[in-house]
Amino acid sequence: MSTFTLDGKTIPFREGDTIMEAALLAGAYIPYLCHLPGYPPHGSCKVCTVNVDGHNAASCTLRAREGMVVQTETPELSDMRRALVEMLFVEGNHTCPACEKTGECDLQAVAYHVGMLATRFDLLFPARDLDASHPDILLDRNRCILCGLCVKASRDVDGKNVFGIGGRGIKSRLIVNAASGRLGDTDLSARDAAVDVCPVGAILRKRHAYETPVGRRKYDLRPISEVAVEKARCVRGRGDA
C-alpha cells in the first residue's frame, strides 16, 4: 500500500483517497467543517488546510500521492485554522449557550479542538433571517456557515434540490427552492438527509431540540477528533461491504 507522512506519521492510502480520507482512516484527525465522509468534498471552509511539500492546500480535496510530506499541526497552520474558525463565528450570529445545537454542533466542537477562546476579529453582526414557516423544520440563517452540505444532501440523496447558495461574497446566503423564499413552501420533509447533515444549528427539527439534555450530548461525551475518525471508518466500512 502507498503511504505519505502527516506530521511525521506514516499514513497508508488507497489510490484516489484524499489526504483527509486517508488521515481519518488512519486515526489522524484533521479538523473540518464543510466536509462529511460519504459526500463529495466541497473545499470551501479551508479549516482542513494542510501544508503539502511547502504549499498549502485543502486536505479534503487534494488526493494523496506516494511520498507526500504533509504537515498539519504546525504553529502557523494551527493559528490560521483557529483564525478561520473565528471568522466563521464573527460572520454569523452564534450564541452557543442559547443555541439548541450546543454540544452537538461541529463548529462549536472544532472551536474547542483548535483552542479558540474568543475571536480576535470584530463581530460583523449581520442581519439574517430566521425562517419558521415549515411545520417541522426551523431554518436559522444566523448560524449558517455556508458549508453546502444540505445543498448536496438534498440534491444527491433526497433528490429534491431544496437548498442552494445564492448571492455573492459576504452577502452569500442559503436559499430555498420556493418563489416565496420560505422553507414551508418547499417539499422538504423532516425525514430528509438534508436536515441531518447540517453541522451547526441552522437546520433544526422543531420540538426535538432538548431530547438529549445538555451535558450528555455527542461532543459532551467525546471530542470531535474521536467522533470524526469513527464516522470516516464507518462510512468506509459501509463502502467496502
Binding site: 479549516v47 461574497g169 436559499i175
Partner: protein, 595 residues
Amino acid sequence: MDLARIVEHAVARHAGDRTRLLAILREVQRDAGSLSAEAIDRVAAALRRPRVEVESTATFYHLLHASPHGTYEILFSDNVVDQMAGKQELMDYFCAELLIQPGKLSDDGLIYVGSTSDIGLGDQAPAALVNGHALPALDRNRLDLIANLVRAHRPIATWPPMLLEVAENVRKDGPLLGEPFTPGSALARVRALGADGVLAELDASNLRGRGGAGYKTAAKWASCRRAKGEAHYVICNADEGEPGTFKDRVLLRRRADLVFEGMTVAAAAIGARRGFLYLRGEYLYLLESLEAVLSHRRAAGLLGASILGHPGFDFDIEIALGAGAYICGEESALIESLEGKPGKPRNRPPYPDTHGYLGQPTVVNNVETYACAALIAQRGGAWFAGLGTPQSTGTKLISVSGDCQRPGTYEYPFGVTIRQVLTDCGASQPHAVQVGGPSGTCVPWRDFDRRIGFEDVPTAGAFMVFSRSRDMFEVARSFSHFFAHESCGFCTPCRVGTSLLRDTMDKLAAGKGSAYDMRSMQTLMRILLSMSHCGLGHTAAKPVVETMQAFPEAYERRLRNLDFEPAFDLDAALGTARRITGRDDEWAHIVSDQR
C-alpha cells in the same frame, strides 16, 4: 410582451440549453426589466431545472437585479481613478439634479443610478454606463445634458454621439496595435507548419500568458492537446475586470481579427472545433462590432467548416457575455460562468487544460495572448523572442491612467522602466504607480527604475499613476472595498477576510484606528495569502501590505491610540432605541471620551 412570452423566447433562442443560463437571464432582464421571483420560476420551469439553481446564478452577478432599474440605468464606474476624477461629487450632483437617490429607482420608474466596479474606461475617467453603453469623460456639462435627455425620455440611440463615443487613446503602438495584419495570413502559415510546427514556434517564442500569471502558453497548449476528451475547447478571456486595465477593450476594437485569428491558431494546435470569447458584461457596447468581424471571417472562410478550404479544419467562435463579476477573470470561474453557473473558482487540480469547459480539455488565454499567438504563427517564434527580455519576450500593452497628461494604451517591449512610461505619459509629480491593478504591485517613487516584466514587475496591463497630492492610504482603502465587493464568497478566508479588512480600513479612515488594528490587519493578510481558494483572496490584502510598507506615515497619522480602540460604537448602538422612542436629546446619547 408578457413575462411568459419573454421567457419562452429567451429560452428558445438558446435551444433550452442549461449552460446558456446566464445569457438567458440577461435577455429576460433586458426584455422584462428585472429578474423577479416569477421570472426565475419561469426560467427554471422552461429549462426543467431546480429553481435554486437559477436563483444562485441570478443573484451572483452584479449586473443582474431582482427589482426594476427603470428606463435608464446609469452605473458610475467606481475605480480609484474615477474617484480621483470626482466620481462621487459628480454622481451626487447628477442625483441631486434629478431629485433621486443612488441605489434606488426613481419614484416614476424612469431612472436608476448606482455604482459599479471599474468599467474599463480609466483613460476617460470618470465614466459610467447607461444601459450598457459607455458614457466616458463625464463632467457637469455632460451630466446636465444627460439629465435633460433622461427627463425628455429620449431613446439612447438618439443621444448626441459625442456622449457615447469611446476614444481609443492609443499613444504608442507596436506589432500588436500598429503594424498591418492581413486576416488569414497567420492561418496560412499554420497550414504549412502543422499543429506540431505551431507549438514549436510558440515554444521558441517563449510567449507567456498576458493575463498576469505568466504561464508559458506553449506548455498550456501542448498539455491540452495531449489531454484526452470528447472535444477540445478554446476560450478567450475577455473579462477584463482588473481595475485600471482597458487594453483588451482597445485590442477588441482595433484588432479583433488578430485576436480571433489567434484563437483559430489555438484551435488548430489543440484540435478544437468550438471556441468562446467571454466578454465582460461591461463591454456590451463592443458586441456588435465583434459579431461583425466574426461574420466577416466566416464569409472569408476563416471560420466555420473547412477553414481556408482545408477539409477537417473546422472551428467557430461564439461570444458569451458576463454580467458583472471580477472573479470570472479567474479561468475556472470563467468556465463555471460559461456553463451558466455562479462564477466560483473550482477546486484544482485538475486544471482546465485537462478538465475545463464541460469537463473537457480547454485552453483559456487572455485576449492579448491570442493576439501575440497570431503574430507568432505569422512571423515566427524567433522574431517574437527577439523583442523584450529573455524571460519576458514580446511587447506588452499598458493601460495608463491616473495623474498624467496622456492616459491611454501604450505598447512597449517588455523590460521598459516604470520611469520611462511615466515620462512618456506626462505624469505630474508621480509618487507611486499601481502596476497590474489592485492585485498587482504598488511601486513607490524610489523604485521607478524597476522594469515591467515577469522577472521584475509583472502586469496584466494596468498602470495607475498617483501624484504626490494623493493619499496612498485612501488608494488602498478603495482597493479593499473592491475586493470585498468582488469576493465570490466560496471560501471562508476570502469571504470574511476581505470584509474584515475593508471594515478595518474604514475604521482607520474614521480616525478610530489603533496599533491593535494594524496587527489585526497583518493577521488578515497572512490568512488571505496562505489560506484562500484562488488568486483573488491571495492578492486581496496586497495593496494594504504594500502601501503599509512603502508609506507607513499614511497609516500612522491615522492611529488614534497605540494600544486598543474599540470598534463598537456605544452611541451608534443606541440609534435603534432613539428611533423607536423618537428621542434625540442630549440624554439619549452617550458622549464618548474624546481624549
